[in-house]
């Protein structure tokens, strides 16, 4: 039965193309790349005028692929709310998030070895680099709020993901509101 169905499916197909690249859905490994060989000799000699015909191989520098490790697991974290949401185009911390910040400030101060990061994000509207900078402002606003409560700067790093890591996919205001945020994470 299995073979019959397979044969039917194969018969239904047109001739496949010759080359394909398979991407395995497995954890990637860090490896230094090696040059992909397609390099010919230096470039073709140019033809001058109507009578000349130049010859030569073509230069085409190869590309060596590099795979990147997945990031490792995080350190011990404070349970409970850790996300502060922002209004459109704003990095002002609204009063309803003060308790979240207070809770994390106590947690961080309790252990001088604790390292936290505040990760700033934006909604998807606008350019990537400008949104990276806007997310940075949100992260730094939270870090300043933590500092006001006595958290040393050395224990908190403010970074931004801009619009690259939305929490919610979608093009409506509800999704965008969930993406304008700063997250406190422990590393």
């Amino acid at each position: 039965m299995n073979r019959y169905v397979l044969a039917l499916a194969c018969a239904a197909l047109l001739a496949g193309c010759g080359s394909s690249v398979k991407l395995d859905d497995v954890a990637v490994e860090d490896k230094t790349g090696k040059a992909v060989g397609t390099v010919g000799a230096a470039g073709a000699a140019g033809a001058a005028g109507s009578a000349g015909v130049g010859t030569g191989a073509l230069a085409n520098s190869g590309v060596a692929p590099v795979d990147v490790n997945r990031s490792g697991a995080g350190a011990a974290a404070l349970q409970g709310p850790r996300i502060i949401y922002f209004d459109y185009d704003s990095f002002v911390i609204k009063p309803e998030f003060q308790t979240v910040i207070e809770a994390h400030s106590r947690f961080i101060k309790a252990d001088a070895a604790r390292r936290a990061a505040v990760e700033g994000h934006t909604d998807e509207s606008g350019g990537r680099e400008y949104n990276l900078a806007l997310g940075q402002k949100r992260a730094e606003a939270v870090r300043r709020a933590l500092a006001l409560l006595g958290v040393p700067d050395a224990q908190v790093e403010a970074v931004s993901f801009g619009k690259e890591k939305p929490a919610v996919e979608g093009n409506d205001d509800a999704a965008w509101a969930k993406n304008r945020r700063a997250e406190i994470v422990y590393r």
């Binding site: 499916a9 230069a59 970074v159």
Partner: protein, 470 residues
């Protein structure tokens, strides 16, 4: 071309299949059947699974249709285009690449040529054309050639360019290339023809870099200028943004989030060796090379806020360039290396400024609209392309730097990341249509736009590489 269907198939632990040809959606099914045949489930589960996978791939094929190159021309533009006939190369039916098709697509994508349709066969680089017959087809020039397999497995590609109005042989070339370099030989031919007939440098054998996102997988690709022949320089589970070619084309700078914060790498393409250029406290982004390749401008938040710094290409301590409490980002050098264009919201909203690299007050350049970002300068230093938000739509604009006059050159709404071709005659940019991201080139007047073939899925962040020494 990648067909991404991880979401539907990952539960079964199957591989994501990719096909790298100008393909119909049916072709991935060939590889699917091959992998199914190696499964070892019980027969009835196999059948149900196979049916579900076939359904999934039919759905995937409709969701991710094969992306062909699609050129759109504004009517009436034909008057400024050179009519040219490109005869099918003798022998090209027997080789993997249709060379005349690639040459024709290149020349038409420039917006400066209009190809005459013609019947196949009969011409090669040795044949003298019947001038009257070809002129009647409306062509002023003719390209004819041949491709022959050599004894060592390589291919001998030859062509000749004819001026049909004067009956003049404008020259030709021959190349001995591996199969992998066949496309490149066609691009070189297009460059030769373009340079002979327009006087401008051809850019068809240059390369572009861009980023794709398929499910949770990001790749930085290096492809031919037509989007084909892509090779992955970097694969990562975290985002990659802002690729920037070094001036000589051997390296790419980019921003990677692989260590859970944005950092800037400089990556040697041929070897895959890369080094961290900027990994300072906070966020590191927006790399831009100086024209002499010795310095990069970057945006760092190490001193609070996003500010501009210069850093030696070999790394080291950065020198701060901007001093403001606002966002300063997206630096780009002028071609003479003396001026930096950048984005700042010091005036209350993101606008484009320029300032001397040696120091001095920034001068604001954009005054229309409340959101102007992503500046890029033409190779002759006279024009600035950028993205401006107009009634909520993010649209590619071109500004004449002498007069300050600016015009929108697209009517799309999600344009991003413009980059000039190194001859200054085309722009590449990312755009999206009904949620599908793609790369598009456009002439500077906006009249001839071509959506590039290449990867499907989400494709963004193009950067056009430099002319390479021949």
């Amino acid at each position: 071309m990648v067909v991404g269907n991880v979401g539907l198939l990952s539960g079964h632990g199957l591989s994501v299949l990719a096909v790298d040809c100008f393909a119909s959606p049916m072709r991935p099914l060939v590889q699917l059947i091959q992998s199914v045949s190696s499964m070892t489930l019980q027969p009835h589960r196999n059948l149900a699974l196979l049916v579900r996978m076939l359904v999934a791939f039919v759905l995937a094929a409709s969701v991710f249709p094969a992306m062909a190159q699609l050129r759109v021309e504004v009517s009436g533009v034909g008057l400024t285009q050179l009519p040219i006939a490109i005869a099918p190369f003798r022998g090209q039916d027997l080789v993997p690449q249709k060379l005349s098709t690639i040459v024709q697509a290149d020349l038409e994508r420039s917006g400066q040529f209009r190809a005459t349709e013609l019947a196949a066969g009969g011409m090669d680089e040795l044949a003298r054309p019947d001038l009257n017959a070809w002129r009647q087809k409306g062509a002023d020039s003719l390209v004819a050639g041949s491709v022959t397999r050599l004894a060592d497995g390589r291919y001998d590609v030859r062509f000749r360019l004819w001026d049909l109005t004067r009956g003049q042989d404008l020259g030709g070339q021959s190349y001995a290339v591996s199969q992998a370099d066949l496309r490149q030989s066609a691009h070189r031919i297009a460059d030769f023809v373009y340079e002979k007939l327009t006087g401008d440098k051809g850019i068809f054998s240059t390369r572009i870099a861009y980023v794709t996102k398929v499910a949770n997988r990001y790749n930085l690709w290096i492809a031919d200028a037509d989007g084909e022949n892509a090779q992955s320089a970097l694969a990562s589970p975290e985002p990659i943004i802002s690729p920037a070619w070094s001036p000589l084309g051997g390296q790419l700078a980019y921003v990677s989030f692989e260590s859970r914060k944005p950092v800037v790498y400089v990556h040697e393409i041929a070897t895959g060796k890369r080094r961290l250029l900027a990994n300072f406290r906070g966020s590191n982004s927006a790399p831009a090379w100086s024209p002499d390749g010795r310095t990069l401008a970057v945006t760092l938040s190490r001193d609070g806020g996003s500010q501009l710094y210069l850093i030696d290409a070999q790394g080291g301590e950065p020198r701060r360039l901007s001093q403001s409490s606002s966002i300063d980002t997206e630096p780009v050098f002028s071609p003479d290396g003396r001026t930096l264009f950048f984005v700042s919201d010091r005036g209350g909203s993101p606008q484009i400024y320029r300032m001397p690299v040696a120091g001095g007050s920034p001068q604001r350049l954009t005054f229309t609209g409340s959101y102007n970002i992503s500046p890029t300068v033409s190779p002759d230093g006279k024009s600035l392309a950028y993205i401006s938000r107009v009634n909520g739509a993010f649209r590619l604009h071109l500004m004449d730097l002498t007069s300050g006059n600016s015009v929108a050159i697209t009517d799309s709404s999600s344009d991003e990341s413009p980059s000039f071709a190194p001859n200054g005659r085309l722009l590449i940019y990312g755009t999206s249509n009904q949620g599908r991201e793609s790369l598009t080139t456009t002439t500077l007047d906006g009249r001839v736009k071509t959506r590039l073939a290449g990867q499907s899925g989400e494709i963004r962040e193009p950067d056009w590489g430099p002319l390479q020494k021949q």
